[in-house]
């Protein structure tokens, strides 16, 4: 139950130590912001077609023109929904990974999941032509996304095998193995870049920087189930990740089935990151900046942090995408450049302001 009367404000005083009401209010504000961003994303674009104008036409009995219909429903709508899903995935997998590793700087990029997905995508771009025609015909336009997802998934499985001994996952080993796997993926990707021809190099560059430009309803349909499934698992992780803040042994003593919880967390991250990287390439900083910002605002309680991350991650990605497709319109700037330009300095600012408080 959320009320907004002023007496609540006194409860927000830090001295109460209870940030649950504050967290709920931040979640509602984030939801509202996301709704605004969705409308804006449907309205803003190179063509000047506006959702509001189209709706007004429709309300006053006029037919919406074919051009408007195509722009709104076949170009902007899938792109917008994809942006929400990808932003939510990146932010939530960042938050889950950080909770799992008990480190506010952990990120799927860090444990090699993104790098593995990237290697898969690059393999598909450079060597996709060598696929037997029957397979190529079957996979079609999904070759790159599917390879990226497979790469991310295989990386996670490999990491898991390396770092799990007799049913216990060592977070330290997984982190170090992630660095090794990331470096290996990077090296193999580098070899493939050398082999690539000019056209492929251009594809690689755009994919590597990340973009929502290729969003279609079919791509959306490929990514959505996996992302939705991963996000749906997060409510079951929240309590466990909270307990894990005190360490694995203490979490177990608090009644959390730690090993099961870690398995679910790993699968969640693999699913969300793999699918997101597959359809949008390497979009950085969302998974670090959003959870970090939220932790400063509402604290580390994952019951609120995870949903708030999903909502705010979606908003940030939509906002970045609007910049990316309007700033040099009619051309497009890859969205990864925008998120890094916003996220990098912002992240440094957070670190600078809180270096006395944050023990990192």
């Amino acid at each position: 139950m959320v009320t907004f009367d002023t007496s609540i404000a006194s409860k927000f005083r830090r001295s109460s130590g209870d940030r649950r009401d504050l967290a709920m209010r931040v979640i509602w504000i984030s939801a509202l912001l996301l709704a605004v961003m969705i409308v804006a994303s449907l309205t803003v674009g190179a063509s000047g077609t506006s959702l509001l104008a189209a709706l007004m036409d429709w309300a006053s009995g006029l037919d919406i023109g074919l051009r408007e219909r195509v722009i709104l429903f076949d170009i902007r709508a899938p792109r917008t929904l994809m942006g929400v899903l990808v932003g939510a995935s990146l932010a939530v997998s960042g938050a889950v990974m950080q909770g799992l590793f008990r480190n506010p700087l952990a990120d799927p990029g860090l444990v090699g999941v993104s790098a593995g997905a990237g290697l898969g995508a690059i393999l598909a771009i450079v060597l996709g032509g060598l696929l037997p025609p029957a397979i190529a015909a079957f996979t079609g336009i999904y070759t790159v996304p599917m390879a990226a997802f497979l790469g991310g998934w295989l990386t996670t499985m490999l990491l898991y095998r390396v770092s799990t001994n007799r049913g216990r996952t060592s977070v330290a080993v997984m982190l170090l193995a992630g660095i090794a796997v990331g470096a290996l993926s990077g090296a193999l990707s580098g070899v493939l870049v050398y082999m690539a021809d000019d056209a492929q190099l251009r594809d690689l560059t755009f994919w590597g920087l990340g973009s929502l430009a290729g969003a279609t309803w079919t791509k959306f349909a490929v990514a959505a189930p996996l992302i939705a499934l991963s996000l749906a698992a997060t409510p079951f992780l929240a309590k466990g990740l909270n307990a894990l803040t005190l360490g694995e042994a203490t979490a177990q003593h608090l009644g959390i089935r730690v090993q099961l919880m870690k398995n679910v967390a790993i699968l969640t991250v693999a699913g969300a990151t793999g699918a997101a990287v597959a359809v949008s390439g390497g979009i950085g900083f969302v998974g670090i900046v959003i959870p970090h910002l939220l932790r400063l605002a509402i604290g580390p309680d994952h019951r609120y942090l995870l949903p708030a991350s999903a909502l705010l991650g979606g908003s940030l990605l939509l906002f970045s995408d609007m910049i990316s497709r309007t700033i040099i319109a009619p051309a497009e700037l890859p969205i990864g450049i925008v998120t890094a330009t916003i996220g990098g300095p912002f992240f440094l600012y957070i670190l600078l302001r809180n270096r006395g408080v944050l023990d990192i």
Partner: protein, 262 residues
């Protein structure tokens, strides 16, 4: 009751515990004492299921391996020796983590009441990281107490496992925290505490298990275990055990010394 039979633990090839058998009765405060590296914490970690061991540990007549994680969390809470916190929770939020076992989840005021109980009234909004070592230790104690707040639940004694609960505390708080453990026991709860301070052990424990070199030297009530002979052998130094004045209970008090008293 906790009945541990022939517990052996080997960590990275080194034997830490060697066929240690010990018992902790429900409704008692059992202290585990012994010199550094004698295996006290290892024994506690085996008993809480944290470390793999050989032998059998029964809790209330059932092998602890047969309990589900949730069942164990409902019966016993564990205060670790050191508790690093990964993210900046407030004191109230840390103590609220004790509600995760679900026993008292409805009781929203419980964390604040327990904080007052451990001498941290008004600390709710402070950040855990900003507390002193002793305050952090009492904050963790409050979290553990919240988990098993009722000393007796459904007719069964609740268990507290405390690993050096007073190691970071001044003498005033040492007594206060030991008294909290004592109160818990007097209301029907059970406590197993790894202790360094033999005098506090002597004052508060019902039963003492003395470990040395990974073996159980002796277990019994404080007056039989805390003797010159046992302590000198275990700690490898001269120890003179005296009897405290009548006003404070005529318990043994222990004075290590360098002199040879013959």
């Amino acid at each position: 009751m906790i009945d541990a039979q022939k517990i052996s633990v080997t960590l990275s090839g080194a034997p830490i515990l060697n066929e240690v058998s010990f018992r902790a009765q429900a409704g008692q405060l059992t202290a585990v004492v012994g010199p550094n590296g004698s295996g006290k914490t290892t024994l506690l970690k085996a008993a809480t299921g944290e470390l793999p061991y050989s032998g059998v540990i029964d809790l209330d007549g059932r092998d602890i391996q047969d309990y589900s994680t949730a069942d164990l969390a409902a019966r016993r809470a564990v205060l670790p020796q050191a508790a690093a916190l990964a993210f900046p929770f407030t004191v109230l939020e840390v103590v609220r983590l004790g509600l995760l076992s679900g026993l008292h989840a409805e009781d929203d005021d419980l964390p604040s009441r327990v904080l007052a109980h451990v001498g941290l009234a008004g600390f709710e909004g402070r950040f855990y990281h900003a507390l002193s070592g002793g305050e952090q230790q009492r904050c963790q104690l409050a979290r553990v107490l919240v988990q098993v707040w009722q000393p007796v639940r459904s007719g069964r004694s609740s268990w507290l496992f405390l690993d050096e609960p007073v190691s970071a505390l001044d003498i005033g708080y040492q007594l206060e925290v030991m008294q909290i453990a004592r109160d818990f026991v007097d209301k029907g709860g059970s406590v197993v505490a790894v202790m360094h301070d033999l005098n506090l052990t002597s004052m508060f424990a019902d039963s003492v298990a003395l470990l040395a070199g990974g073996r159980l030297l002796v277990q019994g009530d404080p007056t039989t275990v805390l003797t010159d002979q046992h302590l000198s052998a275990a700690y490898n130094c001269n120890v003179r055990v005296n009897v405290a004045p009548e006003q404070i209970g005529q318990v043994p008090f222990i004075l290590p010394h360098m002199a040879s008293l013959g």
